[in-house]
Point group: C2
Chain length 287, copies 2
């Protein structure tokens, strides 16, 4: 039996099952301080009849370098109590099983890649919600680099109808996250994108910013698909607008352009927890 955690800033999703595509029980707990949250997660997982490995897809930033002393830690998050938190180490100790660990968005990218049926293909998973983050599977493997992909902090061009908003990112102001995340939309227009009227310019503005991130991923790492998930991406019509705008930005130029697509998650809201199950499976195989 595999165990999995999708560790988010507001909730932890817990699951167990015999394989990544068969989750037999799941449970959601609110994210509080690390001691309370991790103990409750461990208790639920331990009560599910014995797991042999655990996979964790975590909010970040996290340490993914297997040779680093702080591998499996959440590192410098501003979230109170969670900076320098040894998430993987605590759970490995509490449950006595091997642990696989990656970012929540890399886990989602892994699961969406598997769901696409591609073996060697390349895919990006972009979540647009409270924050904006990206995960990458290139040539069939998740990308870590010296830390992990972020994507949310690139600088898109300002839309001509959105020149004055200063953006909400504490570090960068009007980076992608500062312009197109849920809080940035709320700060600009006082409500969520899905509550704006269908003819409100916000729909085209937000689609343009997300499309610029998609184009950047097509143009710089040659992914075939960008899968766009997260709360903002649930706005009706948004992903279709993003796909159309990304095609305009490419202008038919890039090699492979005919295969580029921007889609919603095939696994819906299960991408992250399914990816965490895949990390558990890989950890079991390596142990």
């Amino acid at each position: 039996m595999l165990g999995a955690i999708e560790a988010g800033g507001t909730k932890f999703v817990l699951a167990v099952g015999p394989s990544p595509d068969r989750i037999t029980a799941r449970h959601t707990i609110p994210t509080r301080d690390p001691a309370t949250t991790l103990a409750e997660a461990a208790e639920w997982l331990a009560g599910q009849g014995g797991i042999t490995a655990l996979g964790i897809g975590s909010f970040g930033p996290v340490e993914l370098d297997r040779t680093a002393p702080r591998w499996g830690f959440i590192t410098t998050t501003p979230k109170p109590g969670w900076a320098d938190c040894d998430v993987a180490g605590y759970l490995a100790g509490a449950l006595g099983v091997p642990v696989g660990f990656d970012t929540d968005v890399n886990a989602a990218a892994l699961a969406e890649h598997a769901a696409s049926g591609s073996t060697g293909g390349s895919l990006a998973y972009l979540t647009v919600g409270t924050g904006i983050g990206g995960g990458l599977v290139l040539d069939g493997r998740p990308v870590h680099g010296i830390a992990h992909p972020e994507v949310g902090h690139i600088y898109p061009r300002r839309h001509p109808d959105d020149r004055d908003f200063p953006g909400t990112c504490p570090s960068h102001g009007d980076c992608l996250e500062g312009l197109a995340s849920g809080p940035a939309i709320m700060a600009r227009w006082g409500t969520s994108l899905s509550h704006l009227p269908a003819d409100h310019p916000g729909h085209a503005i937000i689609a343009d910013y997300i499309a610029q991130a998609c184009h950047m991923l097509f143009a710089s790492v040659a992914v075939e698909e960008v899968v766009v998930g997260g709360g903002v991406a649930n706005t009706p019509g948004l992903v279709e607008r993003v796909a159309q705008r990304a095609r305009e930005l490419d202008a038919g130029y890039l090699p492979g352009t005919a295969r580029h697509c921007v889609i919603r998650p095939r696994l819906g809201s299960d991408a992250g927890i399914t990816g965490a199950m895949m990390l558990a499976k890989a950890a079991a195989a390596e142990a």
Copy 2:
């Protein structure tokens, strides 16, 4: 003995040697039509006393999918005569040796990665010259995706002192290549960047655009180093300006930021041909 070709749009650099770091003979020929150029390259390589494998780092776009019928082709280039040209196949047939094939910039990235002494590290190679192109080695492996990295056709933010220039890219106008390549500099200011006075605003403008590409690579694929080569990058002080501007764009935010660096090629102008020698070595090992 390994053989190597750095196949560029204006010249082909040919080399042979017992290992990638020991080139014992080299020769440069001008790029003319494919039949003339490839025959002359094959003739020189055949005359060097018997090579056992050939590596090619080529201008593009190229087909890198080993399972594709057109693997090893230059595909859709506007360069007269070179579209749909079976570069790898011709040379494999003419020389009777196994051939390794990648983009010129991926070859350069491979060589710079090896020269950095890193084994698992991640590095981007950006060439800024007649065109702008990028190669990527992530977690120790070159990236292909469904085609190959391009990087030159992302859209940087327009610099406040460079609002009106429409850009020179036939497909995108003011994409990175349309703003910061050698021809774009020439179109704007009538001379090369290195011939502009030291106090000309062009230096800061071009550095800003290249720095935006570096930041995008740090922020989206978490490379440790961006190596900036090519003719424009030889402008005194430019790479240092780019490094400084990239630090400003990050604002100390990204995980791993303290390790990020923007540098000139450790191998100077030998990065591409050295990488092609590495492709030859890999092809020999696989044969």
